[in-house]
C-alpha cells in the first residue's frame, strides 16, 4: 500500500469516526495539535539551550544564562576546534564513516543481492545466521574484538601469528574493524532486491552479460534508494558510536568526534561553552543528513522496506 492511499484511508476512517461521535470536524484536531506542540517544544527545548550556550561568552556562562546571549561570540567554537583538537577528530570520524559507507555499499549490498537473486543451496540458513548476529550485545563481542584487533597479523609490529605488536589498536583501521559489513545492511539489501524484477537480469543474461556486470549495470542503478539508506545507517552508526572507539584508541590523533567530546570532561571543571559548541559541531553533520533524507530515515526504520 502506498503512502498516499494509506493516508486517504486514514482520513476517511477518522472522518467516519468523527461523524459517528458527532464531533465537529477539527474540534479534536485542535486539541491534539496543541498537545503535540507542547510535547514538541519540551522535546526540543534542550537543543535551543545548547545552541544558545555555544554562542555565550565564557564570562556570561556562569550564573543565570539567557536563551539569547547579550554578546554572542564564536570563541567557544574556535576553542573547541583548535584547543580540544575537535578538527582532527572530525576528520577521523569522516574518514572512518566514508570507508564504512563504501564497504557496506559494496559488500553488504552485493551479498543481499545474491541472497535475493542468485539462490544457492543453504542460502536461507546462512542468511538467517548472518542477520541474527545483529542482536548480539556489544558487551559480549567487545573484549574478543579488542583482542582480535590487537592480534591482526603483520600490522602494528605484529608477526605473522599476530604476536609481538599492538596490531590495529590505536589506529583508524582498528576503529573501522567492526563496521566493515553490518548485518542489518545485508538484510535491507535482500529485502530490496526480493521485489526487483527478475526479467531484467534474464534478458541481460541472454545477451551474454556476466553476473558481476548484471549486478553493476542492471540492478545497482535501480537501487539508489537502497544505497541511500545503507549509506545513512552506516555513516550515522559509526559517527555516533562511543564504546568501541573508546576501548580501541588511546591517543588523541585517532580519536573520533564522540571521544573528543568526552575529552572535554576529563579536566575536572567542565567548560560548558566550548563543550556545547563541540556538541553542536558533532551533531550538525548527522542532522543535515537527516534533514535531507527524512523519508529514508523514518520509513526505512519503520517498515524496513526501502522501496523508492
Amino acid at each position: 500500500m502506498t503512502a498516499s492511499t494509506a493516508s486517504t484511508d486514514t482520513r476517511r476512517a477518522s472522518a467516519l469516526r468523527r461523524m459517528r461521535r458527532g464531533h465537529a470536524p477539527g474540534e479534536r484536531r485542535v486539541g491534539s495539535v496543541i498537545l503535540l506542540v507542547l510535547v514538541t517544544v519540551i522535546v526540543l527545548v534542550p537543543f535551543a539551550w545548547v545552541v544558545s550556550l555555544s554562542f555565550t561568552p565564557q564570562a556570561e556562562a556562569f550564573g543565570s544564562v539567557s536563551l539569547f546571549p547579550a554578546n554572542p561570540t564564536l570563541d567557544n567554537y574556535t576553542t573547541a576546534i583548535f584547543d580540544a583538537d575537535l578538527g582532527r577528530a572530525l576528520l577521523n570520524s569522516a574518514v572512518v564513516g566514508l570507508v564504512t559507507v563504501a564497504t557496506n555499499c559494496i559488500l553488504a549490498v552485493l551479498a543481499g543481492y545474491a541472497f535475493a537473486m542468485l539462490p544457492f543451496p543453504g542460502n536461507k540458513a546462512l542468511f538467517y545466521t548472518l542477520i541474527s548476529t545483529a542482536a548480539i550485545p556489544i558487551s559480549v563481542t567487545l573484549i574478543p574484538l579488542f583482542l582480535m584487533a590487537r592480534g591482526i597479523p603483520l600490522v602494528g609490529g605484529n608477526d605473522i601469528l599476530g604476536q609481538g605488536g599492538s596490531g590495529l589498536l590505536d589506529t583508524l583501521g582498528g576503529v573501522i574493524l567492526p563496521y566493515i559489513v553490518m548485518p542489518m545492511n545485508i538484510f535491507l539489501a535482500r529485502q530490496f532486491f526480493t521485489s526487483a524484477p527478475l526479467e531484467l537480469g534474464e534478458a541481460a543474461r541472454m545477451d551474454g552479460a556476466g553476473e558481476l556486470r548484471i549486478f553493476f549495470s542492471v540492478y545497482l542503478p535501480l537501487a539508489k534508494p537502497l544505497i541511500a539508506v545503507v549509506a545513512i545507517f552506516s555513516f550515522t552508526g559509526v559517527w555516533d558510536d562511543f564504546l568501541w572507539p573508546l576501548v580501541v584508541t588511546s591517543s588523541q590523533e585517532v580519536q573520533t568526534v564522540q571521544l573528543a567530546l568526552a575529552r572535554f570532561l576529563g579536566s575536572g571543571n567542565v567548560q560548558y561553552g566550548p563543550l556545547m559548541a563541540g556538541t553542536v559541531i558533532a551533531t550538525v553533520p548527522v542532522l543535515i543528513v537527516f534533514l535531507f533524507n527524512q523519508r529514508s530515515f523514518i520509513s526505512g526504520l519503520s517498515d524496513g522496506g526501502v522501496k523508492g
Binding site: 543481492y113 548476529t133 549486478f215 555516533d240 523514518i298
Partner: protein, 316 residues
C-alpha cells in the same frame, strides 16, 4: 558493535499480512548462478562470521579463564570460577540491580508516552510530518551528545535548577546524589527513546487494516473498545519489537553513564556494561569481564522473551 537495529516485524512479513509471497525462484542445485550467488555472498559472510560470530565463541572461552592482556602468557583456564565468583560479588549484584531498575523505569514510561504520541501523529493534518520529524530529532543526535546536553541541564547553573530557582526552590545536585542520579539518567533516556519508539509504533498503527476499524464502527464499538480490541491487537507485533529492542538497548547503557555519572555516586548508576568496561579495560580482567558479559547476555535474552510473552498475552 553498531547501533543498527535488527529489522522490525513489518519488514519480513507485514503485520497485516500485506506482503505477497516471493515469486518462486529457480531450484537447480549449484547451477552457474548458484555458484555466483555464493561467490557474491562470501566476502560479507566471511567477514560477519569472523568478526561477529567468532568473537561470541572466543568470549565464551575467555569467560572460563583468567587473562590479563598485559601479560604475554595466554589465558589461563580456571573453569567456572569466574561465574561462581560473580555469585558472591556484591558489586556485580549491585550492577545487575541498577541495570534492572534502569530498564524497568525507562521502558514502560517511554513505550506508553510513545504510543500516545503515535496516536496523536497518526491523524492526518497539515504539518503532521513536521511534528514526526521534530520528535524524532533526539534519536538522531548521538547518545554522547545528548548526554552532554543533559549534563549541562543537570549542572548547578543548568536549566533544571534555573526552573527550580524561578519557583524559589533550592538548587539540586541531580547527578551527585545517589538517590536521584539514576532517575536523572533515566529521564534523559525516556526523552531520547520517545521519538524512535513513536515512529515504529506509528508504522504499526498504519499497518492495521482500515476495514477492521470500519467493522468495529458497524458493531457500534466505542473509542476505548476500538482501541482495546482493534488497535492494541493489531499493534502487537510492533509492540513486541519495540519492547524487545528497548530492553536490549537499555540493558547495555554505557555512553550516557560514562558522560553523566561515571557510574557514581557510590555505584548508584554502575550498570553491568559500565562494570564490564572498567573490569576489562581499567583492571585488565578480561576473563571475569567476559563472564559478566555472558550473564548479561543470558539475562537480556531471558527478559526479552518474558517481555515478548507478556506483550503477546494469551494469544496463540
Amino acid at each position: 558493535m553498531t547501533s543498527a537495529t535488527i529489522a522490525p516485524p513489518g519488514a519480513t512479513s507485514a503485520p497485516g499480512g500485506a506482503t505477497p509471497p516471493p515469486p518462486p525462484r529457480r531450484r537447480r542445485r549449484w547451477s552457474r548462478s548458484a555458484i555466483f550467488g555464493l561467490v557474491f555472498v562470501l566476502p560479507a559472510a566471511l567477514y560477519v562470521l569472523i568478526f561477529q560470530l567468532v568473537p561470541v565463541v572466543y568470549g565464551l572461552i575467555l569467560s572460563f579463564t583468567t587473562y590479563s592482556p598485559l601479560s604475554r602468557s595466554g589465558p589461563e583456564f580456571t573453569g567456572v570460577d569466574n561465574y561462581t565468583d560473580l555469585l558472591g560479588d556484591a558489586d556485580f549484584g549491585n550492577a545487575l540491580l541498577v541495570t534492572g531498575r534502569y530498564v524497568l523505569q525507562v521502558l514502560p514510561i517511554t513505550v506508553v508516552l510513545a504510543l500516545g504520541l503515535a496516536l496523536l501523529v497518526n491523524r492526518p493534518f497539515k504539518g503532521v510530518g513536521l511534528f514526526r520529524s521534530a520528535l524524532y530529532v533526539p534519536h538522531i543526535v548521538s547518545l554522547t551528545a545528548v548526554s552532554m546536553v543533559w549534563l549541562w541541564m543537570y549542572s548547578q547553573t543548568g536549566l533544571f535548577n534555573e526552573i527550580l530557582g524561578f519557583f524559589g526552590a533550592p538548587a539540586q545536585s541531580w547527578l551527585l546524589d545517589s538517590d536521584s542520579a539514576l532517575n536523572a539518567v533515566s529521564a534523559m533516556r525516556i526523552w531520547k527513546a520517545l521519538g524512535s519508539n513513536m515512529v515504529l509504533l506509528l508504522a504499526g498503527l498504519q499497518s492495521i487494516p482500515k476495514d477492521l476499524y470500519e467493522a468495529a464502527r458497524v458493531d457500534g464499538a466505542g473509542r476505548w473498545a476500538t482501541f482495546r480490541y482493534v488497535t492494541l491487537p493489531g499493534l502487537r507485533p510492533m509492540l513486541v519489537y519495540v519492547v524487545a529492542m528497548d530492553i536490549i538497548y537499555l540493558a547495555q547503557g554505557f555512553a550516557e553513564i560514562y558522560v553523566l555519572t561515571q557510574g557514581g555516586p557510590l555505584g548508584s548508576t554502575t550498570t553491568v556494561n559500565y562494570q564490564i568496561y572498567t573490569e576489562a579495560f581499567q583492571y585488565n580482567q578480561m576473563g571475569s569481564a567476559s563472564a559478566m558479559a555472558f550473564v548479561l547476555f543470558a539475562l537480556i535474552i531471558g527478559f526479552s522473551v518474558l517481555a515478548v510473552r507478556g506483550v503477546m498475552g494469551r494469544q496463540k
